[in-house]
Amino acid sequence: MKKLINAPDEVLLDALAGVAAAHPSLSVNVEERYITRAGGPTPGKVSLVSGGGSGHEPLHGGFVGYGMLDAAGPGEVFTSPVPDQILAATKAVNAGAGVLHIVKNYTGDVLNFQMAAELAGDEGVQVEAVVVNDDVAVENSTWTAGRRGTGATVFIEKIVGAAAERDADLATAAGLARQVNDRSRSFGVALTPCTVPAAGKPGFELGEDEIELGVGIHGEPGRTRGKLVTAREIAGIALEAIHTDMPLSGETLVMVNGLGGTPLIELYVVFAAVAEWLKGHGVTIARSLVGNYITSLEMAGCSVTVCKLTPQLTELWDAPVNTPALRWGR
């Protein structure tokens, strides 16, 4: 294992120290492990809190700031945060209008956020939780933990963050988050596995000419394994899977997201193929995002996320945002 770390058990704390040193716009509570806006909560505004295992940077800490999150609670690498830290973050940013928890659908995240929400409720903080589950690679049946939350999380944090700045109330913000979730689908492909620092070895093995189809963001193996094919074919596999699940049409927001170990030039190669496929199916790319936004440590590969836009969603997407990882219009 070759990594730029000081010690495997100190990665999270060292990274939080780095976030604090690099971004004066953020306030990092290293003791209780949460990140908030340096300016504190905005009185009367619904606050957005998200969190999850670390190793997905810039998600979630990089999305704390005007127009997106009010707080993020990072867990250990690939491990959901604990209830105490989510509770502390929730209380820290509660500005009287309630707090929206944006939770990716993983058993650990859901359980820990649920416990935090109950504790916050006991202390009089109104919390509503929205569970993100956009990954079409997982069959959505009563026999699984349900679909994973992946790329749509970025869309929800941005769009609902914009609405919250415009004084959307808690119920409206939660409804909007569910709407974006319902209109978004993702599919991921890995070219290499990744290594959790504390584990020291890769989560799975892949041959030189093999790819893992339908991966999540935690170095877990996907549903099937295939031969390495062209970027055009990979884009086709991802979009077919998405289109089969949610027929695509009209104006869309499209993200080609790097999983951490893939250079931007390859992501653009994939985006070209995605654009070609969508055009061929009569789908318009109205807005797009290409880069590393929700990663899986150093895993090579990408995920494709598509959201079917409405005029309101487009307008909220375009609204000003000012965070370390996403910034425009202000």
Binding site: G53, G75, E76, V77, F78, T79, S80, P81, V82, P83, D84, Y106, T107, G108, L111, N112, Q114, M115, A137, V138, E139, W143, T144, A145, R148, V196, A198, A199, K201, G203, F204, G216, H218, G219, E220, P221, R223
Partner: protein, 215 residues
């Protein structure tokens, strides 16, 4: 059983989890996300530290303290699940200074109920419940037929181990492993494996004194 027996149980469990952390993580790497051993080691070490610091005086308080520490420090799904199990078990024991084998049986039942309520896992889903259900039944069967505590806890540990073996043939339906579905067949469930360790620790802590000294 008094408070010292319960402290011994947790100390033994912590030791077994620490000794087997790499193995648990290895099991998790095959079908999950390679952190079960790392998380549980952190959780049990925190529980042990909290017990040393707060020195609870009743068996019930020992277990609720452990539960709280596991929820606060473990992360993942196993933290809330084991934490809830220990807390429910502890609450069942109330303030009693001395706990009977029948009470321990009720505590184990309560732990199982709490874990199942939170995680919504049924037998056969390839989870910790597949080790815990047979263990609780085996414990109860020994007590109901007039067996003593060492026999009952030994039977529980052995039933859990058999339950773990049976998870190898199962396809996961809960937790992160469920994303892999049929690809999980052929692997032991990491949560069932850690449940075996915790029940093994209980058997060690309540077993015959001679056996304990020898082990």
């Amino acid at each position: 059983m008094d408070v010292s027996t319960f402290r011994t149980w947790i100390a033994e469990a912590t030791q077994l989890v620490v000794d087997n952390a790499d193995h648990l993580t290895h099991l998790d790497a095959a079908i999950g996300d390679a952190d079960h051993g790392i998380n549980l080691r952190r959780g049990f070490q925190a529980a042990q530290a909290m017990l040393d610091e707060t020195a609870p005086t009743t068996p019930g308080a020992v277990l609720t303290t452990v539960g709280r520490a596991l929820i606060s420090k473990t992360g993942g799904a196993s933290g809330p699940l084991y934490g809830t199990g220990f807390r429910q078990a502890g609450k069942t024991l109330g303030e009693d200074l001395e706990v009977s084998p029948i009470q321990l049986g009720a505590a184990l039942q309560a732990a199982l109920a709490g874990i199942q309520q939170l995680g919504a896992a049924a037998e056969g889903d390839k989870t910790m419940v597949d080790a815990l259900i047979p263990a609780v039944s085996a414990y109860q069967a020994v007590i109901d037929t007039g067996g003593d505590l060492p026999e009952a806890t030994r039977a529980a540990a052995e039933a859990a181990a058999r339950g773990l073996q049976a998870t190898i043939g199962l396809s996961a339906r809960k937790g992160r492993a469920s994303y892999l579905g049929p690809r999980t067949i052929g692997h032991e469930d990491p949560g069932a494996a850690s449940t075996v360790l915790i029940l093994q620790a209980l058997a060690n802590a309540t077993g015959p004194a001679v056996e304990r000294a020898a082990s």
